[in-house]
Symmetry: C3
Subunit: 386 residues, 3 copies
């Protein structure tokens, strides 16, 4: 008599594949997965694929391409688990940076050009800025817990985006809705420096127009440690164009300096590509909904294509809107940037009380939900929400 | 009835092999080609070979070795398409740098030692200096087109020589004289920085004592952009020795400072290797011939071995003679350096009007012809020319 | 009649395997050797194994693991032939750095954080500091032999530990006691800079509780050249603990500054892990024995586990004791550091006459003998010696 199978199927361990592991001294390289490999139902023909890039400054970079059957995204383990781009139909989340290759960190000198080397590899849709510091480069002086004066020469947006992941795994739920998770741990550790472990996760459900970023930063050192985290979320065409709109509820909007100040009344609309345009930066205090979440929407001029994100204002109380409406060839882009603070020099952020601290062993979590809206009705619904 | 084949053979597409390509995500690795592979006549037993170097700081460097049946040269795609050395019989173009390995850019920190890290990888016969800047390291302040003040911390001779090529191809003409071309594209691009594409080509004909460097730099950004280009062409033994001669028609010769000034009368002859000798630098305005080309010759003391180059003074109006007649072990070398300017700090070059600009989409071409002379008669003929 | 074989066996050439060679363009990769491979007697089941590490910042690092049948050590050719750890039974020589990976030099920017980037890769048991400079980072100005003023921006502990070996070989004696040698050459060379070749050797005998480090630095340039060499030998648990003892005969003990000065009476005992503890540094003049050697011992609180080293005070006249008794998670460690000088800024060391010089072609040798002591009697015997 056959054994009953019910108990086996009610509580299924998810499928788990380790692609990279310092602990196991593993790097899988080329790899592919589809529902058939797991004998899962194929309602949505999803796939996960890892491959290695070649040539120029992208030699040796590994990328993981996820297709949930409707929406596709590309994760870059070699660049701190950043997200290169997301695509669904004719909507692309991302931008056309002058940097055309997915640059391997070996070719990035963060100290280059007065601490601006980060810009030589910057072309992701979502790039994390941190962990010891983010924001403008320059010297920072502060007192450590032992009372000693510490001087650090900080570089733009910190190190995490140019640090390869130490552990990378793909996790697939075996029960509906069969969520697909790409997880990676990126370490930022040094003697006499901070000791952070960042676990990142990007996930989606087969057939969905949504994806989620869930991160956790932990201080694995024995001393209290400052940190900074900012999600640099960058949009170009087709969402960004002349007449595109930024929509968010905000308690305040503060221009960074005089130049954006003169355009404050139009801070939420965008100019078309303009050669030589100078960047404009606005600092926002997002207004949370009843659930404590800020909702942010960017849509095109016709309001029939858009992308929204929402996040907890307790986790990410600051929001920066970066308008860099230069010519297409120079990198026409807007950055929608929830963070623990604003991307000012860390010294300025510390004085404003916006540099959080982690006790030994303490962790902080961040969760951001994204959705793509592909017609006027969807955008209108999202506007209602946002 | 057979189709006539005449039309097919009169206009033959050249053979083309892509060795590295970011666009096609390709890196071929080890590869070899001979006339037999193309069913071409084998009057000169030429070959092209790509291989990968191993060990120390050269781990992972790719080199392309071309033998035209008489003359051999080695191109380094991993180091900006520089030319490591050229050899023909007992004449070697190149030098014995203290740097013995072909150093991978991952091991070069250009900012090292006050912006002198470039020297830790410098051992090529021909190395391009540029593209955003070349010359002495240090801070530079200038106004961009938007009127904003920009500060840059420049490093010696810029980045291009430590940038791996993004596209590399071998092109062989299928019709006489069956020219062999090694072509590579090296990008120097950054957000908020210059956006240059440099297409390089080194070519030769089977059996010839000559080779040609043909480059094109294009501003693919949307803003006017300064650039600098200098060809650092370096000779040691056997051409450089006590009594070796530099021959060029020049409108002016200007010592860089007092130390070479005292030897101005002998600026065109060379001392033998001398431990502890200080470098001497002379700036020349080359005198063009009727075709607008400057002709430069270096020959040994006996005038029976030499190398000449010629180039357009419109393209490269400045010429620097660098005499570094230190001990052999310390890098006995002379640099013959045609450029868009002189290797002074960029600020000084800008004030002198020697930092050219490229409009959006604009390109500038450079062509340099080289020849090796292997007996007294050939050198004498070249002297007549030079 | 068979030829007598005696002459063949009395003088046997050692087995020699080249694992990495710039000269031969070789990188063997994974490799393993045991006595059986050499048809040697297997009294002690020793082995030598090379493997490549993967994931995170250790991607591509090669390590050589030696097991002499009793004692095991790991050498890192990719990091200047440093020694990651040594183990024998329950004694481990090494420490638990916050840096968990064996970091590839491509991910270390020595200039990072004001010249402190070295700390982002620091986790070895023995790491060499040098060769052009070691000690605290900062600017240094001096006159070269030609009388010119040279400015250098030095980084913490120099470059050698982040330079991959150019030549690596395993040498096994075919006659008793069948000594196992791991040899590697690390070059530190630059135009206008020092030209050093460092040959390193780590060796042991099958079944022994001892190992030896024998290095030679040679100035292969044509100019007199300053150098600095310091062996940063680092211990954590199980030898380092509250009540652990440092034992050495010293002519003088000088605290680096006021903070260690107040604890000078207890400089030779160690506190347990203490979160936020500041480092204490003592400079010692070791007292040599009749053979001219200094003997240094570190043992645990119970005096039943210890490690000793001895070295020539003529070769290494200075000894630094670094006490960094922070929390375990922050890198609880003590550094026992014989050197040609102390790890002060080079300018200070030069003024004190502690920066040695090498004439062209001149070499300097260093030999350090290490032993592990695993019970009270062995430690007591070593105390008698030390």
């Amino acid at each position: 008599m056959a054994r009953p199978k019910t108990s086996h199927t009610t509580k299924l361990e998810p499928f788990r594949k380790i692609l990279t592991s310092v602990a196991e001294n593993r790097r899988v390289g080329e790899w592919k997965l589809s529902p058939r490999d797991l004998k899962l139902p194929v309602k949505h023909s999803w796939s996960v694929r890892q491959r290695t890039l070649h040539g120029g400054k992208q030699e040796g970079v590994e990328v993981i391409e996820v297709d949930n059957g409707a929406l596709r995204f590309t994760v870059i383990p070699t660049r701190g688990m950043g997200i290169l781009r997301v695509e669904m139909g004719d909507v692309r989340l991302g931008w056309d940076s002058p940097v055309k290759e997915v640059v391997h960190p070996q070719f990035v000198n963060l100290a280059s050009g007065g601490g601006l080397g980060w810009l030589e590899g910057f072309n992701e849709f979502i790039v994390r800025c941190g962990l010891e510091s983010c924001g403008a480069p320059g010297p920072d002086t502060f007192r450590n817990d032992a009372g000693g004066e510490v001087k650090r020469d900080l570089t733009l947006h910190g190190k995490i985006a140019n640090t390869p992941a130490s552990e990378v795994e793909v996790v697939i739920e075996r029960a509906p809705p069969y969520r697909i998770r790409i997880r990676g741990r990126v370490d930022e550790r040094s003697l006499f420096g901070p000791q952070f472990e960042l676990w990142t996760e990007i996930s989606t459900e087969p057939g969905s127009n949504k994806f989620r970023v869930k991160d956790q930063i932990r201080n694995v050192g024995a001393s209290v440690q400052e940190f900074q985290m900012l999600y640099h979320v960058n949009y170009g065409a087709p969402l960004l164009e002349a007449g595109a709109r930024f929509r968010a509820a905000a308690k305040s909007v503060t221009p960074r300096n005089d130049y954006p100040a003169k355009d404050i009344r139009h801070f939420d609309t965008f100019a078309g590509p303009t050669a030589g345009a100078a960047e404009q930066v606005y600092f926002l205090e997002p207004q949370a909904d009843g659930a404590g979440r800020a909702k942010i929407l960017l849509h095109n001029a016709a309001a029939d294509r858009g992308a929204s994100m929402n996040f907890s204002v307790e986790q990410l109380p600051c929001f920066t809107l970066w308008k860099n409406t230069v010519a297409i060839a120079d990198g026409y882009v807007t950055g929608l940037e929830p963070g623990t603070g604003f991307p000012n020099p860390r010294q300025m952020e510390r004085q404003a009380g916006r540099v959080p601290r982690l006790a030994p062993g303490e962790a902080r979590r961040f969760a951001l939900d994204f959705a793509i809206h592909r017609d006027r009705a969807q955008v209108a619904a999202a506007v209602g929400v946002a």
